[in-house]
């Protein structure tokens, strides 16, 4: 019978498990995200650098092509920790831009027209809601961060052989862990920005401002007070030092990976607190 003739009947069929209900958020959000041309374009553009890096890995492993070049140049082409550090640095910027474009569209529309009570009056919690939104960002940022990073590592391992892999497996683990931490931080910034400001464009600007303004402020403090410790308030700078440590690359002077890690954990907790305060089904004015 056609649906318009059927009339209303209460649903009495089987119901899905809790995990499936929670995943309804990312499923729907992902579809809507992929309808945004700018997001797709930036995502495609983000693959350019990994492709270039893949060509670099290929060339560095073709000894026959490198005959005749001086030793310094051949050493420069060698794939090691610094190569992955540069790769991660560039891709982390792409991840920030993508998160600034996609993040605000995930939470802000729900707050603008008060959709949260409708979600949260159903059998899902606020944590499920945030996790559902976070999964969208994680799925969006993964193909431009750790997935190409591990692919590069796999190509290099394949071309250089088992010996290289055994000696450098730490690079693969570093890429994975480093990008996982970056995705977590960037997603939290994007979600918190989106929860704070209901206008998408301003929320996007806020995400970019979080990284660039804090980096600028850290530089100003460094110049004025002549201390490297100002890097603790620069999320990008602090993460760079952690990545250096993970990849076994000599880090710049100043605070070590542990101090930077603690600073980033503090930032993440602050962002989680913002989400906890803002994402409520009802706003209580004391």
């Amino acid at each position: 019978m056609p649906v318009y003739r059927r009339g209303y009947q209460r649903y009495a069929g089987p119901v899905t498990a809790h995990r499936h209900r929670m995943l309804a958020f990312p499923r729907h959000a992902w579809k809507r995200l992929m309808e945004q041309r700018l997001v797709v374009l930036v995502m495609l553009a983000s693959f350019f650098w990994p492709l270039l890096c893949a060509v670099f890995v290929y060339l560095s492993n073709r000894a026959d092509l490198l005959q005749g070049f001086d030793k310094a140049f051949v050493a420069f082409l060698e794939v090691k920790g610094r190569f992955f550090l540069i790769f991660m640095n560039v891709q982390s910027a792409a991840a920030v831009i993508l998160a600034a474009l996609a993040g605000p569209g995930l939470v802000a529309p729900d707050l603008t027209n008060n959709a949260l009570p409708l979600y949260l009056s159903r059998p899902v919690s606020r944590f499920d809601y945030v996790l559902g939104r976070w999964l969208v960002l994680a799925a969006l940022l993964s193909p431009v961060t750790w997935i190409p990073g591990l692919l590069l590592f796999a190509i290099q391992s394949g071309m250089a052989g088992w010996g290289w892999f055994a000696a450098n497996w730490r690079l693969g683990a570093g890429v994975l862990l480093g990008f996982a931490a970056w995705i977590l931080l960037v997603s939290l910034v994007a979600l918190a920005g989106s929860a704070l400001v209901r206008w998408r464009i301003i929320a996007g600007a806020l995400v970019l401002a979080f990284f660039f303004v804090l980096a600028g402020a850290a530089q100003i403090i460094r110049q004025i007070l002549r201390t490297e410790w100002s890097v603790l308030m620069d999320p990008g700078g602090a993460m760079y030092r952690i990545w250096s440590s993970l990849l076994g690359v000599e880090a710049p002077e100043g605070p070590g990976a542990l101090a930077c890690g603690l600073a980033l954990i503090a930032m993440a907790l602050l962002l989680a607190w913002v989400l906890e305060r803002r994402l409520r089904p009802v706003e209580v004015v004391s």
Binding site: Y11, R21, L120, R122, P123, V282
Partner: protein, 332 residues
């Protein structure tokens, strides 16, 4: 036999928002077992109606006491409770750039419907509430009335047992209001849902509710079964007769009824249980009295409400019926 479990059970429930206590130690049991019932939640602005609803949904944590809904604790069993509830909030609630059908599908999936069933139900419900033609339009382009209907549709899309409606007829024109009330009645009568209706419009509550709870200043000040009130009111008759009515009081007493002459042929009569209006008609005919007017007294919900919130001392005319020193009839 075990007594029927109430739909909503509040035990010394207090809710504090910031430094203000909004609900003060409320205790009551609403609705019995079995579906198909509408409970009205009434109260002046700031009485705590919405806070009570939100507490039942688990949005506010009680500062004291506890609330149980459908036999489950509102906090500890919130996931189970919410799976069985449909909620229509008072304020606008939608995602502006989503089509109605996509939005309803998403909400149905969150409620636990498999994807295909959710899509089917979304279409079905939108047609049913009269939004079939506009189901592919984005919700931001909907008029206020359409948005109200969309909010109602999302509340019923997963087939809940309990439907909580906060001011469902707000902003609706008379035709849309009638349609909304008809839908609420249909949910109760044809689909066995229990409806908790929060409204400022006493007419709406009176039209569809079986039971009413009146809140004032965070306390339950009145809890009435409207069906019983209506039944009781049927025993009160207001008469206007022409002719010689001097023996009417005695004749009424012989029938077991009480009558008070208010002068100029106006009478107030209380019929005992088992005596129907036909007997009164027959008695008036025997007395050869012309009947100018015969109506049931109607203790309207407005009167009940005003008395409950302390803005009306008694139903107008109530005092004239009851001689001093006797109990009031309004309680019947």
């Amino acid at each position: 036999m075990q007594p029927a479990a109430p739909l909503i059970e509040l035990e010394g429930l207090s809710v504090r928002l910031g430094r203000r206590e909004i609900l003060h130690r409320i205790s009551c049991r609403l609705g019995g077992a079995g579906g198909g019932k509408t409970i009205g939640l009434l109260g002046p602005n700031g009485a705590g109606k919405s806070t009570l609803i939100r507490t039942l949904l688990g949005f506010h944590r009680p500062s004291a006491g506890r609330a149980r809904i459908l036999g489950q604790d509102c906090l500890k069993g919130s996931r189970e409770v919410r799976a069985r509830i449909g909620y229509m909030p008072e304020t606008d609630a939608f995602v502006a750039n989503m089509t109605a059908v996509t939005f309803l599908k998403l909400l149905a999936e969150i409620s636990g419907l498999p994807s295909e069933a959710a899509l089917e139900k979304a279409h079905e419900v939108l047609y049913h509430v009269g939004l079939g033609e506009g189901r592919y339009r984005t919700l931001g382009t909907y008029s206020l009335g359409m948005r109200q209907m969309a909010k109602f549709a999302q509340a019923i899309v997963h087939g809940p047992e309990l439907l909580i409606l906060d001011e469902p007829t707000n902003g609706l024109d008379p035709a849309a209001r009638r349609r909304m009330l008809a839908l609420i009645r249909e949910m109760k009568e044809s689909h066995g849902m229990i409806v908790l209706l929060c409204s400022h419009l006493l007419g709406d509550v009176e039209e569809v509710c079986d039971e009413v709870v009146i809140l004032n200043d965070g306390r339950v000040v009145h809890h009435a079964n409207l069906e019983e009130e209506r039944r009781a009111n049927r025993r009160f008759v207001e008469l206007e007769v022409t002719g010689d009515d001097r023996d009417l009081a005695r004749s009424l007493r012989e029938q077991g009824a009480e009558g008070v002459n208010e002068g100029q042929g106006r009478w107030r009569v209380v019929l005992p249980a088992g005596v129907e209006l036909e007997a009164l008609w027959a008695l008036l005919a025997r007395e050869k009295l012309g009947v100018h007017k015969l109506t049931h007294r109607r203790d309207s919900l407005e009167e009940i409400f005003l008395k409950a919130v302390g803005r009306l001392q008694r139903t107008p005319g109530e005092e004239s019926l009851v001689p001093k020193g006797e109990s009031t009839l309004a309680g019947l």
